[in-house]
């Protein structure tokens, strides 16, 4: 069973969501969409580094475009291990949250 940090999990989910066009800007937008929070590229790219090192994603280069000052896009794709890690995380999440019912009335204790 692989342990993922929260942000790694979110980034993996974002990459999974985006499938073919998972590169920096899109991933940032997706993460903002999922968490309603603005992340820096510095943070995201350290996470990408970690995930690549752990073998959950692989990188690939796209075509250079004029918008980006002639720089190539770096696309990310989930590997088998990445998929497995996501499955594991999902399983664990479901186990942890099993039987939980959203309360609307809170009883004060002590």
């Amino acid at each position: 069973m692989v342990e993922l940090t929260r942000l790694e999990e979110i980034v993996l989910i974002a990459i999974w969501n985006l499938r073919q066009d998972a590169y920096g800007v899109n991933i940032k937008k997706k993460v903002r969409e999922l968490t309603a929070k603005e992340y820096f590229y510095n943070t995201l790219y350290t996470i990408f580094d970690q995930l690549i090192r752990k073998g959950f994603i692989i990188k690939g280069f796209g075509e250079p475009t004029a918008v980006r000052g002639g720089k190539r896009k770096v696309f990310f794709r989930l590997t088998k291990e990445g998929h497995r890690a996501l499955n594991d995380a999902f399983e664990r999440q479901r186990r942890i949250w099993a039987g939980f019912v959203k309360e609307t009335f809170f009883e004060e204790t002590a």
């Binding site: 790219y45 720089k71 190539r72």
Partner: protein, 214 residues
């Protein structure tokens, strides 16, 4: 369009981001930032976008510096290890090499210490950097003397000599001063220019005329 856009990006933060961003994908990173910069400038205007890119650069800075420092230390350790292995491997060669280096460095240090010591005393004279001593070391007795006639000869022959004072150490002797005779152990005969050359403080009298009369 492209070139004008490139010009709009503030130089310094962009440079920081490009140079100091230590992730494994600098190309994608810089490209993403440029792309979002263009988008943001359309939505938020120039000032806010520039602030955004500045914040980006400044938050990237500490991590980058740490990364650089850590890598430097690791690399340093690597160099040290390689050096040690080389020394172990070529023992004879490194022995001679290091002995030579040690002797050279030691000599250099000792020369430095010696000259520092030599330059350290008699600094209180007014023109101490322009005062020289002339010695003639005798091989037989080991005494350090010059002929008395050397002083006027040097004054005549060398225009760069400004003034000359002669000194002679007679050792212990008896002194007669105002009909009282005393025995002194520290005594020096000197010519009358001694106070023009050296700046010894006098207990009594005026330096210019102190040694005129015998």
């Amino acid at each position: 369009m492209k070139s004008s856009l490139r010009l709009k990006i503030p130089k310094w933060p962009y440079w920081i981001l490009k140079k100091l961003a230590f992730n494994s994908l600098p190309e994608g990173y810089a490209g993403d930032i440029e792309e979002e910069y263009e988008e943001r400038i359309r939505y938020f205007g120039k000032r806010k976008t520039n602030a955004w890119i500045w914040i980006h650069a400044l938050t990237a800075l500490p991590g980058a510096l740490k990364y650089k420092f850590v890598c430097g230390v690791i690399m340093m350790k690597n160099y040290l290890k390689i050096a040690l292995r080389n020394i172990r491997r070529n023992k004879g060669y490194s022995f001679f090499n290091m002995t030579g280096l040690i002797i050279g460095m030691g000599c250099c240090l000792f020369i430095g210490l010696y000259s520092q010591y030599e330059m350290s005393f008699d600094k209180f004279h007014k023109n101490s950097d322009r005062i020289c001593r002339i010695n003639l070391i005798s091989n037989q007795t080991g005494g350090v003397t010059t002929a008395p006639a050397l002083a006027p000869a040097m004054m005549n022959d060398f225009p760069e000599v400004e003034n000359i004072a002669q000194m002679y150490d007679p050792g212990n002797s008896l002194i007669k001063l105002n009909n009282s005779i005393s025995f002194r152990t520290k005594l020096i005969y000197a010519s009358e220019h001694i106070f023009e050359v050296f700046t010894f403080p006098l207990i009594n009298g005026i330096p210019e005329t102190a040694l005129e009369k015998p």
